[in-house]
Every structure is written in C-alpha cells, then in structure tokens.
Point group: D2
Chain length 322, copies 4
C-alpha cells in the first residue's frame, strides 16, 4: 500500500482527494495536515465522508511515513512550504498549485499532464499538477500541436464552476450574486495561458500564434466547459482520426460522437472532446470536472503513474449525470 500524506487538508482539492483516496485500492491515508482544522475529525469538514473515515486533521504530519505528499495549500504556498520543510528526498511530491508548473532548471518538477508526457511522469519524483482551465484547453489542442497544425490564432472560451474559485467566500462566489448569473474575468490574460503555451510549444516548436482566451464564471458548482476554434485546412474526418490516435492510450479522454453537454463529465476523471468542422473553422469542445481531471483526480492519475499502478486505479467513478 502507498502511504499518502496531504498538506493543506481543509480546502476543496484536499477534500476531493480524500473522497478519491478513501476508496483507492492501493492507498492508505497516512495523515491530513491542516493548520486551521487540526484536531477535528476530517468528516466534520468534508462532511460527505461521514461513515467513511475516522481520521482527524493533524497539525504536523510525519513526512517520513509518507510515500507521497499531496500539496493542496493554494498558489504561492507550496514553494514556501518546501523551502521551510525538510521533506525526505525519497518522498514523492504532487503539487496542486501553480508554483512549479513552469518547467525550469531551478527545480525538478515535471508538468503532470499524462496525455502530454505519460512516460516522463512515470519517472518523476515531483509533479506539478496542471491547472483546471489549462487541462481542458490542452486536451482540446494537443493533438493539433503534435502535428504542427496550430497554424493560426486560436479562439477559446471556457466557463468554470464555482468550486474553481476555492473555498474562501467572496463577492463573486456569493450565491445571491452567482445564482443565474455569468461574468468574464481576466480576459485574454488568465495565468493558465503560460502552462498551455509551454505544452503547445513542446509539441509544436515555434508555435507563436495568439491564444485568445476568455474565461467566464458560470453558475454551476463543478466543471469546465471550453470551446476552441481556429481556421484550418484540416478536414473533419482527418481531425477526428488525429484525435482518436492521440488519445488511443489515454484511459480518460474520449471523443464524443455527438454534441455533448457538461454534465457528462461531472464527478468523473474524464475529458470529453467533440469536433465539428464549419467551413474552414474547426471547433473543439472540451469538458472536464474541474475538481477531478482538473485537479485532484489528475493528481491521483499522476500518483498511479509514478508508482507503476493501473493509471485508472481508484478513478473509475460513477458519473453523477444529473
């Protein structure tokens, strides 16, 4: 069994991680560290775990007892934690923040998008888990980049559920405001653009077109619904063939034969893609659950790869559908 420790255990991604790991056939939860909730039962915070665990949050985990640490502390805090904290080098680390997503000689983290680089992840000791928008958008574009087909600007819209904004309450996550509402934020400037471009350039060296990305706040709890289109000569059938081939070995990414809707992927670790060609425009719809394939599910997928397990272990989740 793999002993897993969680740092930053009270937030949304830690909760989702726990909901997965509790039923993972190859994992024991060694400890769940939380400053704010230390001493309390885990199920008193992540209340849907009632009856599934009697663990309590701890102020300080014993890192030596963990085979893998999941860092769920929020952006900017993982780097500070690792500087301040002596984690034994043999403990594998999966960081869910943005801190190490930019590959750099200054650190050894590998960008953890299995569909981009499964074999590097299998060899890695430290993983930077991708962002939720970044995952949805990369799944939409990687097969084109692989074939050097991103030959024009790409027009991207993506709507995120409220859990993407995290647990801290605020004006734009207040129910009275968000219910039946929509808004744009960080137009053309979302921080995930950096990691998206990094991956696309990795597959299509020299890629220099615009990624015109409009993120929207949606009035739903889970999910990312992204559309991307570009002008291309690539035909519809050929496009589908490329996508099918690219994702042939990926247990979680599927090409929908018909026009999909977001709830198909909610409460699953799937990425569902759909292609349509209209004149010279190739439209790609890409959908994930932001807490699963966009965060904690992908973190477990990475863990599975790092430890040589079935990539889908613990991740065959019943979809909610409704």
């Amino acid at each position: 069994m793999i002993n897993a420790g969680i740092i930053g255990g009270a937030g949304y991604t830690a909760g989702e991680l726990l909901r997965i790991l509790i039923n993972h056939p190859d994992v024991d939860i060694a400890f769940v560290q939380s400053n704010s909730q230390a001493g309390k039962p885990i199920a008193s915070v992540h209340t849907s775990l009632i009856g599934e665990t009697f663990l309590h949050f701890t102020a300080q985990g014993d890192y030596g007892k963990a085979d893998v640490l999941f860092l769920c502390m929020g952006h900017g805090k993982s780097a500070a934690f690792l500087e301040a904290t002596p984690v034994p080098p043999e403990v594998r680390i999966i960081d869910l923040s943005t801190d190490f997503r930019a590959e750099s000689p200054s650190h050894e983290f590998v960008y953890g998008l299995p569909e981009l680089q499964r074999s590097r992840i299998r060899e890695a000791n430290r993983i930077a888990n991708p962002g939720c928008f970044a995952t949805a958008i990369q799944l939409a574009l990687l097969p084109l980049a692989r074939h050097g087909l991103l030959e024009d600007d790409v027009h991207i819209h993506a709507v995120t559920g409220a859990t993407g904004a995290g647990q801290a309450p605020g004006a734009t996550t207040h129910f009275s405001w968000r219910d039946n509402n929509l808004s744009v934020y960080k137009a053309f400037s979302h921080q995930h653009l950096a990691e998206i471009r990094q991956s696309l350039t990795q597959l299509q060296p020299g890629f220099a077109h615009q990624l015109n990305f409009l993120p929207l706040r949606g009035n739903f709890s889970r999910g990312i619904f992204a559309t991307a289109y570009l002008y291309t000569d690539l035909g519809a059938d050929k496009a589908r063939d490329l996508y099918e081939a690219f994702y042939a070995g990926s247990p979680f990414v599927f090409l929908s034969p018909s026009n999909p809707d977001l709830k198909q992927v909610v409460n699953t670790n799937k990425g569902v893609l759909y292609l349509e060609k209209h004149g010279s425009r190739l439209l790609i719809i890409s959908m994930i659950d932001n807490l699963l394939k966009g965060a904690s599910g992908q973190a477990v997928q990475n863990m599975n790869l790092m430890f040589g397990l079935d990539e889908a272990a613990g991740l065959r989740l019943k979809p909610s559908q409704f």
Copy 2:
C-alpha cells in the same frame, strides 16, 4: 415630493429600496449614507441601477432635509444609531431591523404590517418594519387569529432565498455549498417567532398554542415559501371566505384559486396565499419575495400609508415570473 434618506445604503435591503424609490412617483432620494462606500456612485455598488441614477453614497446625510429616514443597517445597529444621532422629531423613521419590532412603552415604534394594522401605521411617526419570515407566516395566520380560530398547535415550514442572509459572504451563502442544497437552521427557535406571536396575540388574546416553525435555507436567490397547517373544524369554503374578507382592503395579498409556486411573487410586493383542507387539516401556503413584501417593498408600503399616498404607489412592479 417626499424626501427620503437611507442609512446603511450598501446592503441588500437598501439596494432594493433604491430600485423601488427611483421610480416612485412621489419620492426624491435626498441622500444615501454608507460608511463603507462613501463617495462612490450608487450604481457602482447596486449595479443594476446603471443609467437610472447619478447619486453617490455620502458619509453623512443632512437629516434635516429628509421627510423620512429608512434605517437599513442590520440588526442591533438601529437602536445604537438613534441613540447617538440627533434626528429631528418631525422626520419619520422606518426601521428595517429587528430592534423595535417588540412593541414596548420604551419606544414609539409601531409594528409595520399593513394587513394587521393599517390605521395605526397611517398615524405613526416611527415604524418597525416586519421580518421576512414573520411577514409570510403572519399573512398565513392572521385571518384565523382574527376569528379566534387558532385553537391548536400550528406546524410551519418556510424556505428562504439566499438574499435573506444578507450581503456578507459566509459558508452557507457560498455558491459551491448552497447550489442544489438544502438545510435547516434555528429549528423551533427562529427570532421572528416573537413578532409573529405578538401579532397573533393582538388579534386572538390568550393565544398560547405552539408555533412549530422549521426554517430552511433554499437554493434560490429571492423568496420565502411557507406552509402552515393545523387541525381545525373550519371548512374549506368558510376558510376561503374568511381570508377573502380579511384581505379585501389589502392591495397586495391575494388568494390563489389554484396550487401556486414561489416564482409567482418574485419581484413583486405581493403575498399570495392558497388554502386546502384535508380531513381536519387546514393547509395554508404563503409566499412572498423576501426583499420586497418581506423588507423594502413593505417599507415603501408603510411610507405610502404614513404620508397619505396610495398604498400601492411605486409598488406596481412587473413580476419576473421566470
């Protein structure tokens, strides 16, 4: 024209009041006082007022210039405000907090439920505006109390929209939590029970039965949907007659001929009631918009009465229905 001043102008009830008063044919807005937003345009906070007002929040209104002050500061703050602030005695005051709803020799506030005591309100200088749950539940029960027919315990459930919890964000108004969710709070002990009992006893002296009231948090923005039932010999037709008679002079309370739904009343100042008799059980459904008939609309209704205007002036609002 009546000059109206608003104290505590940045919150939900003040916003709703402004959205009404801006189109009220007999009112000018003298000032809107807000500590937190002083100096900013009103439409920058109550954003749906774009194009309707160029007023700014002020740190300190000139109370002498107002014919009526609406106190929208939140519970506990109105009493403190009035102690600290020299409001000229000829300025009428309508307080939306709970502070003066308990009638008492220590203050001159009149409980402002027009359907209970329209003539006292017409003569009043100071009004304690009723609570939202309290309004919905009293509308359901007053006609029975008038005839001494509350002869058994009453069983009450009421579900409130998220705006009832006010603007400050918190765990139970976080969209991720509240979306598609329900919960009970303050079972059998909600603070509005006091004002409800006060009114029922006023109409039915000696009333001493239980009011078993379960309040629920609903996953919608506006509205209160209340059910109440009790065992009674009163027949269905006779009950409808009593209710029709009781509300004959009330421009906002209606008896629905068929089973209603909450959105009938949303964005209106109406109270809609519906009666069914099942065996010895008389069921009353009562619905209001918590921000209108449950707060700011009722405050304007009270103002209209105090100033001798048409009771419905400024309150003939287009329902949203959807």
Copy 3:
C-alpha cells in the same frame, strides 16, 4: 389610450408583454387571443398576474378594436396568420417572430431595432421585432459598423437563458438536464446571423467578414450574455467615445464603467455594454434580458415609438438584481 391586442397569448413572450402592458400608462389591453387557452383567465396561465387582471383569453379577438396587434405565435406562424386573417390596414402590427425580419420588397415590415433606425420605426405601420441573440450582438457591434470599423472577423460567444427556448418542454429544457449544465448548439449557423449581417451591412456597406458565432444554452432562466472581439487599431478611449456617442439618444443602452455581470440587466429593458482593449483585441461584452430587450420589452419600445410616446413609457422596470 392605445388598444392593444395580442395573438398567441399563452406563450412566454405574450406573458411578458402582458406583465409590461398591464402597468403601461397609455395602453389598454383589448383582447388576448389564444387557441389553447381560450376562455380561461389570463392569470391562470400567466400566474404572476394574480390580482392584476381579470381578463380572459379569447378564441377570436375583434381586430377592428385594436390600435396595435402583437403577434406572439412563434416562428413561421405570423406569415400564415396574416395571409389568412383580414386585419384592417390601419391596425399597426408588431411581429415577434422571425418571419419578416429579412427586409424585402415583398412586405412592408421595418426591422424594429430602435438603436439602429429609430426614425424609420416612428413612421412604420408594421414592425419585425428583432431576435434576442440578434439584439445583444447588434448592440455590441453597431457603433463599429457605423464607422466602418468592422475590418476583421468577429468572434462571438453568447449564452442564453432557458426562456429563450420557449414554453414547450423538451430534452434540453428539462430541469434535470439543464441544471448546472452547459452546451453549444447551432455552432456558426444560428438563424439570427442573417438579421445581424443585414443590419451591419446597412451601416457598413460591403461588410463581408466572418461573424463566428457560438450560441450556448445556459443554466439560468433569463438573459443573454454575449462577448464579441476583433482585432482592430481602434484604441480603448476612442472606442468608448464612439459607443457613448452612438447610444447618446438611446434610453436603454449603457456603457458600464466596470466589468459587468448578467444579472445587472435581468428584468429590465436595458442593454449594458462593456469595452476592454487587450493588445490589438477589442472585447465587447453585451448583456440583455432575452424576454425584455430581447423580445417583449423591445416590442413595447417599438410601440412607443410608432405611437409617438415617450420611448421608455411603461419600461422603467425595477431590476431584480438578484
């Protein structure tokens, strides 16, 4: 007073029209014709009108008694109705369907977007009321077209509320499906593109760029939230000046000084626009209530113009905001 008749009185747009006209200071409702509901009280179908009207649906209105007829029957049915029905020529007609939006020598309908051609509407006897998506998108683009500045392809993404799909229940309006869901439909091929292009070409002759329009089904009841962007040399300040100037005489269209959200416009007849410039990309956000500025509110605005009334008569509606 203007006597108004409504044909197709049981649907969503007729209901919204009634909710407006009942409080319109210059209108009497002459009759509301409905095949499916003839004989029933209007308030039994449009239930939020309880207490506001005692009218009944009629199987056959007396068209000679109407000064204006609103056709609310759905697409394709207005043309058939007018062929089969002898409407006296002096009765003005406002058609809410798509049937006459394409201007043509074969009919005398004028396209009823006041912000495009207020003076033609004032002289018209017959009005083709614009589509909801078409209104939101035209409001976003007309000022650029006026100045010949649509010099590149335009990228448009717009999400519609469920009321846009009408009253007939179906798979994609089922609550279980649509709740917390999103989907694309009619990608790049929505029928409203024709009327949008017609108007743009009217202002910018020779306009031949792509309008890449992705319509989405949103999980909310009312509203259209549209974004449009294009590459342009036009600076941000200059753009704002153009938009302010273009809409200077329009009582319902406003430029938001800050990043807006859809609920600002819900239950109003407003169009709210917002501009941002990012590098060479000009982003325009455009928001309307699909049942008001996108349908029945605009129909009343057109009626007001045709009869020489204040353009905003009956349309100063309290926003719901929440």
Copy 4:
C-alpha cells in the same frame, strides 16, 4: 459473476443502475432492454457512460441468461410485464415500481428496505424496491417504531429533486419554471404513505397516528431532504442511542453529529440522519440521494443481499459534495 438484465433501460433509474453496475465487481450486464432505444448504443442515451461501455439497447433480452432482472419501466407497468412475460422462476427480480410494494398473499414480492428486514431480503426471490420519499421517511422513523415510540402524530416535510419526477418533460420539470422555484404537491396524500405506514405498523403493531406529509418540488436535480417531528418524552441522548443501535449493522445509514445539508449524501447510497430535541419536540432530519438510496442504489444493495455478497459491493461511491 452475476448476470444482470435491465428492462426499461432508457429512463433515469436504469441509467443510474447502469452507472453503478458497470463498476460492480461481481456483476456482468447481460442485456439492457428498451423499446424506445433498441439498437442504439447505451452511451448515446446515458451519455456520461462514454468510454465505459459499448453495449447497445436490445428490443428483447434473453431472460434465461440473466440471474437477476431489474424492472425499471415505471409505475403500473411491472405487473403487466410479468403477466405477459414468461420469466424463468429461478431468475430473481427486483422491481423499482410501486406495483408490488404493498405486501399481499397475491404475490411473493418482499419489500426491499434492508434496514427494515435484511434477513427476509436475503431469502427473497422477488423484491419490491421502496420509493424514494418512502425510504427517506422510513429511515427517519423506523427506530422509533421499533420501540413503540410513535405515540403521537408525525409532521413530515420533504423536498425532492427534479430527477424524482422522471425523464418525461412537463410543466413542472421545465427549467424555466423550476429554476429558483418551489411548490407543494399531493399534500397529505402522497402515494408513498401506504408503504411507510405498512412498515411502521410492522414494527409498531397498532400504529394509528397521523403521518402529516407535505411533499415539495425542489429546484435541484438529486436528493430528498426530509424533516419529521413529533411530541415525545424521549430524551435527546436516549433517542440518539436508539438510532445508533438500530442502524449499527447498516453500512449506509449514519447519524450526523452536527446539523447536516443535503449535498452530503448526493451521489452516495447513504442515508444521513440528524436528531435535535426542542422541548417536547423530537426533530429528525433525513437525507438521501433519490436516485441511489431512493432507487437504483438500494436496488443494488438488495441484489447484494439476495446473492450473499457484501451489502456494500459496488456502492462505495465517491460523494460529489459539490
């Protein structure tokens, strides 16, 4: 492996059953029969199963190949099906309709609420799977009935998600209507009262008090949130002891230590209960997912018992929580 056949495969409960059985360690799906969808891929109807199954609906299953048949056809149709269809007697049957919930000498179906009669279910060949409201309400009241403590009328209020109404679209499942709405239906007369009373009387012979049950339509997709209270001398601690003892051997029913909310149970097979005592009133909150513990999850739980499997096999589902 157990070979499972599903009759009526296109509806909501069949879809949920498939989403469970596909990951059940001891089950193979033999066939999924559907008149309306015969020949189509299952994943084209239950779209969240993309990538999980390549099975197609069949017009006619081979009942001899099944160890168990799940009847998911809707109320009234199961009895007709079994009369017309020669199902081999050794094939176990689990019926999700109301048809056989009333125990009777005329049929051999056992009422399949494991928490009521686990041992009878283990021996049964035919199971009548309980209703969703009935399950939530029985879980709230069974421990009291076991001890003869239902000594007064019980006041019950329960709100159901839209999936409870099934797949056929209609007025009260239209998104435009149901979004942000609430309504009562079948007040004091819901058909599930019969099976609730049958079980309570089984445990507390002679039980004859009123079950005053108000069912409400909620604006959410999944779940039932029920409250029940009655006057009783039973103390809070003693009540909790009784409930803990009653459910000690039940793997899915838990007593929450703190005030719960509906989403704790969504996408799980759990029943979560919560007790509060207020004066003489004992309040019980009971929550289930209507499609799981209220339908298909409970059906699988019954199957597990009938075949001697771990009662929770295939039902350790990741909660969605959000």
